[in-house]
Amino acid sequence: MGRKLLLEHINVPGINTLAVYREKGGYRAVEKALKTLTPDEVVEEVKKSGLRGRGGAGFPTGMKWSFLAKPEGVARYLVCNADESEPGTFKDRYLMTYIPHALIEGMIVASFALGAKTSYIYVRGEMMPQIRILEKAIAEAKAAGFLGKNILGTGYDLELYVQPGGGAYICGEETALLESLEGKRGNPRIKPPFPAIAGLYGCPTVVNNVESIAAVVPIINDGGDEYAKIGIGRSTGTKLISASGNLVKPGVYEIELGLPVEEFIYSDEYCGGIANGKRLKATVAGGSSVPILPANLTLKYANGEPRLMSYESLSEGGFATGTMLGSGGFIAFDEDQCIVRNTWNFSRFYHHESCGQCSPCREGTGWLEKVLHRLEYGHGKMSDIDLLVDVSKKIEGNTICPLGDAAAWPVASAIRHFRDEFEWHVKEPVKSLSSNYGLANYAVPIEKKVEEVKQDNL
């Protein structure tokens, strides 16, 4: 059994209430931080923990905190990014639903560390039930003296509010989120200036994912050094993985980083294998934006070594043979799934969610969707496959925010690894409407040097 830091008490009845949460040791981190540590010491513990942003980018949280500008007489803000919308990711919904005080406690400690007197939790608008849960938890915490004026008699004041979004994936990007919180369209801002210098209302601001903030609680309770002992290499601590698709037991799992991917998919402690006795064809390991991998490269590197659930191991081999941990949205595809159809589906998503600010993304995502649609529905040409690669290359890196890259990578990687299947759709337009390409050789172990794989992909 792996260690659980965030979900240890998730099955305790009533853990969503302040009373039970405190019985299980809740709000110790607030007492410890506010009464025995200085804000800088809290930041130092988080730095020592090696915690990396759990929203997808993986940037070290402690470092992000240390960049926060602290001009005299200017308010500073902490904003929690709970705009969870990445296809395949539902861990934050789970955490907020079942153990809301873990987030509230983390928000108090993190706000104290950053010197914020007002903090906001920006929750996607569709999660109204979670908004109600959080507001109730905040009211409980306030009544118990953990929020409001002079918290626990320490002289520290903090107000915490929940802000609903309006339904827009782009608001998961931190500067779009800040625009939205200011009551505007979610158009990402040009960086620099970074939010640490000029964020909410032009004031220094830190934006952190729900899971990152919740992880601050065990880091303060046990110390950053203890947290850093869990995991592997620079992937420290535990990570919530949202498992979905054709699995026996989809759901949210807390893993110690470094768990072998094979164990995560097939062991009974986690996903329990592929549903309905089917075989695994492909996975998207970190939310829809990361490259898709065939089954063989999911389980092992190109050189045959086992792949692990960690930031480094999942990206081993670069985009030629690897992917990314991203937000931990792990989607499994069985042998009956059509990669062309799924790629079209994801492209439609990005087209729908593009904010329209940058032409390469606004126009390019539409092209990707249209060309993939005609391939899927039997009207494709062989040249369409290279057209898709061309369009995705022209989006990638040419937009203000990473949504452009996120739209390009799934298409580029699907063609990189599943070109046979795309070609089959062109050669067999009628057959491809009623049947699918199947598993082909996508699960056959490859024993190649990385250089050879790169050659194949040129």
């Binding site: 919904r93 007002t118 200011e182 009551g183 979905s244």
Partner: protein, 171 residues
Amino acid sequence: MLKVEEQQQPVEFSSALVEKFDEIVSRYPAGKQKSALLPLLHLVQAEFGWTSAPAMDKVAEYLNIEPIEVYEVASFYSMYFLQPKGKYVLEVCRTGPCCLVGAEKIMAHIEGKLGVKEGEVTADGLFSWRGVECLAACGYAPVLQIGPEYTFYENLTEQSVDTLIDNLRNK
């Protein structure tokens, strides 16, 4: 593009609604009342069933901002209805992970059961349905939600959808 409906019936905000507005505005620093725009539009939609142009104008007046600042926001975000909808809007997730386990079949079933196409309203005014993008519940797919409370229904089957619709109809 913003589709402002023909319907221009004036709306009145009740004092209870304005009280809620006041509480929300108090969450932001002085002069930053525009931050309340998204939450206010949710309250308006919950009250009137959709976000009409007269309602948006009144929100603009309340927040002391230009009407265009409200229109541009309401048309950007997917949750605000710029046309009247059925009393119950069934929003079915249609993104990748849900489709791997049958979301498309569920949508086809709803279309057949309600007898209206995506976005339309049933003759009795009770139901609309539409496909929406990822609802962040992929492990419990297929899923749908119904506003204004955004109650969630998970692991849908054709039978569970039938039961849900019948229960709402008989409510």
